[in-house]
């Protein structure tokens, strides 16, 4: 389990010199335990003390960097099995594959699609993270040539070939960019591992369906001095998905609860394998690939390789990732109060919503994109959505009446008419009674609000 502030404090100088920017060593220790500051900020540590603290602070799952400079991404770094215990770190990297047999135009098109895939949600731009180049041709020169084309890409690379010769040729071209090597297997062990040592690149260990052997080979990689290892225990789909899940869960549990040194590495899953020898139609394949991705996002992949690029397949995967990796320690709420949109006067409409961050940002986005001019009252529902706070009792007549008083909205508009979310209809009477305002039940979804305002007013 994760280290406590006290464990850390014991190893700090305890002089409270405040050079780290914190008032005391204890305060610094607390921040470190929550990963909210950097150990380097304490300037008072000798090298060996620093080392001891680094070991103590090393996450249960090693953090592995792929790529370099502004292209670099981090995977792994987790401390807990369940997000409510702390938070998950480093959102699972989503990687899409390209292969070295594609025609130049098709190749370029696909890379562009990958780079341009994005989806905005609650004020955050969600994107993919890397490109996996697959040595489908089996030809070393083709692989290297394709790799060199990807040098220009804005994303870091995963180089997929089990042939050490092809890997060497590709590394000669892009080896200085810290790509993730995929991968070492039982059959190519020495040669492929040596390439990882030579080029100092992170390396994937691919041992399908055999954790015992995986442990052995991981151990052997570590003995070679390799530290940045990623584990692929095999993504089996269909009836075998249960085994895939078991293996993923076991690895993460061994890393986090047992601190088994051979398993303290990020896990790689390949939902793209759903498409292997599969003659279902394309739509079914994409739906199923998203399903496998969602399964492995939940339990416990740190990096996923997909093949589908349809936006409707990617959106749910991006959304689930965003949800899983929000920090449960941070309230999912915005400040309650009065928000203003567009040009306002004393006849402007007044809307009501809750302070659940997601609700608020959704409404905000809709009002802005619909160019609506309106006041928006945001009620403190301790960060709960409309339906949930309605059921939980935070959204009630008295609370809304208080909000009206606190915000002074009655001095800004002369109307006494409020539009509430469609889902809040059950409390419309209650709000009228407690506030003396007229209440109109608006649309259920805020996307309809701008139109509604134009029509109604």
């Amino acid at each position: 389990m994760s280290v406590t502030a006290m464990d850390i404090y014991r190893l700090l100088p305890k002089t409270n010199c405040a050079k780290c920017g914190e008032a005391s060593c204890m305060a610094f220790a607390t921040k470190l335990s929550e990963k909210e500051t950097d150990l380097e900020l304490c300037t008072e540590l000798a090298a060996n003390e620093m080392q001891a603290l680094e070991n103590l602070l090393a996450p249960a799952v090693r953090e592995v960097i792929i790529g370099k400079g502004d292209k670099a991404i981090a995977i792994g770094g987790d401390e807990v099995l369940y997000r409510y215990e702390l938070t998950y770190y480093n959102p699972t990297a989503l990687v899409i594959d390209v292969n070295d047999e594609m025609e130049a135009a098709e190749f370029e098109e696909r890379v562009k699609t990958i780079e341009n895939t994005e989806f905005e949600r609650t004020g955050e731009l969600l994107t993919l993270d890397a490109i996996a180049l697959r040595n489908k041709s089996g030809d070393a020169d083709k692989f290297a040539a394709a790799a060199s084309k990807l040098k220009e890409s804005k994303y870091p690379l995963v180089l997929c070939s089990l042939d050490p010769l092809a890997m060497k040729k590709a590394l000669e071209v892009v080896g200085d960019e810290n790509p993730l090597i995929y991968g070492v297997t039982e059959n190519n062990f020495e040669d492929m591992a040596d390439l990882a040592v030579e080029y100092q690149c992170p390396v994937t260990l691919f041992v399908p369906g055999d954790l015992e052997k995986m442990k052995e080979l991981s151990h052997a990689l570590r003995a070679k001095g390799l530290k940045d290892i990623v584990l692929d225990p095999g993504t089996f789909v269909g009836d075998a998905i249960g085994d895939t899940l078991d293996n993923f869960v076991m690895i993460k549990r061994l890393a986090i609860e047992e601190r088994d040194e051979d398993f303290r590495f990020p896990i790689l899953g390949i939902p793209a394998l759903l498409r292997l020898n599969n003659d279902e139609d394309e739509v079914t394949k994409s739906i199923k690939e998203a399903t496998i991705a969602a399964t492995l996002l939940n339990k416990y992949a740190d990096i996923l390789i997909l093949n589908g690029t349809e936006i409707w397949e990617i959106i749910p995967v991006l959304t689930l990732r965003q949800s899983l990796y929000t920090d449960p320690r941070k309230p999912q709420a915005v400040d309650a109060g009065l928000y203003e949109f567009g040009e306002l006067d004393e006849n402007s409409p007044v809307l009501l919503t809750t302070n659940f961050a997601l609700t608020y940002y959704t409404v905000e986005g809709d009002l802005k994109s619909g160019k609506a001019s309106t006041y928006l009252l945001v009620l403190d529902t301790v960060g709960r959505a409309v339906d949930v706070s309605l059921a939980g009792g935070q959204l009630n007549g008295k609370a809304v009446a208080d909000l009206i008083k606190e915000t002074g909205i009655e001095d800004k508009v002369k109307t006494r008419k409020m539009i509430i979310p469609g889902l809040a209809a059950p409390v419309s009477g209650e709000i009228e009674d407690d506030s003396g305002w007229e209440v109109v039940v608006g649309p259920r979804d805020s996307s309809a609000v701008p139109d509604y305002l134009t029509k109604e007013l």
């Binding site: 369940y82 997000r83 409510y84 594959d97 292969n99 697959r134 040595n135 489908k136 070939s161 089990l162 297997t185 399908p208 954790l211 015992e212 442990k215 151990h219 003995a223 095999g234 089996f236 789909v237 269909g238 009836d239 075998a240 998905i241 249960g242 085994d243 899940l245 078991d246 076991m250 047992e258 793209a272 394998l273 292997l276 020898n277 994409s286 739906i287 998203a290 399903t291 969602a294 399964t295 939940n298 936006i311 409707w312 397949e313 959106i315 749910p316 959304t319 965003q322 949800s323 899983l324 929000t326 449960p328 997601l358 959704t362 959505a385 949930v388 059921a391 939980g392 979804d445 996307s447």
Partner: protein
């Protein structure tokens, strides 16, 4: 032996010698023979490392199986003229520890009024039967393999059609006639009327062991519990993403004469992108608590997965998001699947594709680890099309 040879011998035999100490002891030698020594030291250190790693013996691989003092109760739904379905019964969190005795179950939503508001991808499948709950239920079972059917008595809502509890009960009777799978009976969500509706429905379905949805702290849960006890049904205990509220309600229901084998919990499913992480946390904590021995929470869990269809990503027309025909089902699957992976046992769902895919994964939960033939994937890099 000259000093140099002595030194090299020493280095050979004492591989663990610290370089610092060595430098102190052979100070003057170091000056004269620097390069040679450096080489020797290097070599010794390398061998030392190799040996150290060899000594760094690998512990044997042991699957990380845990012991759990607690157990989730098993709830039977369906009796009399129904083919029974069993929920829960887990004694472990994961399959590799111990496969769960019963696979996750899906119950299809059926309504007592035609639902013009249902999203198009669903209406498409059921529009021909929406006028008749019985036909609707039949289609769900026959064509889409439903394990169960949920009869939502939405029409009893005072603001909907204000049907009487008796009329609600008639719709239940119709569905009982039409299919032989167990039923979940839901009301309209009106805290005053729901207990009356459920009471009437429970009597109409006496001895068929339905799941009455739901009891919660906002309504007369006693009436619901009594209707269940008197007519041999189970009760859905619904709380709002709050483990303590769930515990309290469960305790109240147990006091009313229900047992652990008569209660299914609904800790609330927030849809993907709309707070699903809260549901993940609550489901996980609830199941872990149960296995650790908290008797207030040792019941199977239910998910109102249909909530997913309320998400705009599921239904809203928007060119740049692609067709809703695909987005909708995925939204429902991912919501349900996420709940399933965190311990939920029964799913209320709408779309046939979502149900099928969820079940495909859920059915593997009852099999033993590594008893399925694994597909051959070792050459995926060259074999994968596209």
């Amino acid at each position: 032996m000259d000093k140099m040879t002595q030194l090299l011998k020493l280095l050979e035999n004492t591989k663990s010698i610290e370089i610092n100490e060595f430098r102190m002891d052979f100070d003057e030698l170091e000056l004269h023979l620097m390069p040679a020594i450096q080489q020797a030291v290097q070599k010794a250190v390398t061998t030392e490392k190799a040996i150290a790693t060899e000594i760094m013996a690998m512990e044997e691989f042991k699957p990380p199986i845990q012991d759990y003092p607690g157990k989730v109760a098993e709830v039977q739904l369906g009796k009399g003229s129904r083919t029974p379905v069993y929920l829960g019964g887990q004694q472990a969190l994961y399959r590799f520890e111990e496969p769960q005795p019963n696979p996750p179950v899906v119950t299809f939503d059926v309504f007592d009024i035609p639902m013009p508001g249902l999203p198009r991808p669903i209406r498409e499948h059921f529009s021909d039967v929406m006028e008749s709950p019985g036909e609707w239920a039949k289609k769900a079972v026959k064509e889409f393999g439903a394990n169960m059917v949920t009869m939502h008595l939405i029409g009893t809502g005072p603001k909907v059609m204000d049907k009487t509890p008796r009329e609600g009960a008639q719709a239940v009777e119709e569905v009982l006639q039409a299919v032989d799978v167990p039923l979940v009976i839901g009301a309209s969500g009106d805290p005053v009327k729901d207990p009356l509706v459920l009471e009437a429905a429970a009597e109409a379905a006496q001895g068929e062991r339905c799941l009455l949805a739901s009891a919660n702290l906002d309504l007369d849960y006693r009436k619901v519990a009594k209707a269940a006890v008197d007519n041999d049904h189970a009760v859905l205990s619904w709380s709002i993403t709050d483990v303590n509220m769930q515990k309290t309600l469960n305790r109240y229901l147990l006091k009313e004469g229900l047992t652990h084998n008569d209660i299914v919990m609904d800790p609330t499913t927030c849809a993907l992108g709309y707070g699903i992480e809260f549901s993940i946390d609550i489901m996980t904590r609830t199941r872990l608590a149960a296995l650790k021995g908290d008797t207030d929470l040792q019941m199977p869990m239910s998910s109102g997965t249909t909530n997913a269809w309320g998400s705009r990503e599921a239904w809203m027309k928007k060119e740049e998001w692609g067709p809703t025909d695909y987005r909708g089902p995925i939204w429902e699957i991912v919501t349900g699947l996420t709940m399933m992976l965190n311990g939920v046992d029964i799913f209320m769902m709408l779309h046939p594709t979502s149900v099928k895919l969820l079940r495909e994964i859920g059915d593997t939960f009852v099999k033993d680890y590594m008893t399925t033939e694994l597909p051959e994937i070792s050459d995926w890099i060259t074999q994968l099309e596209g």
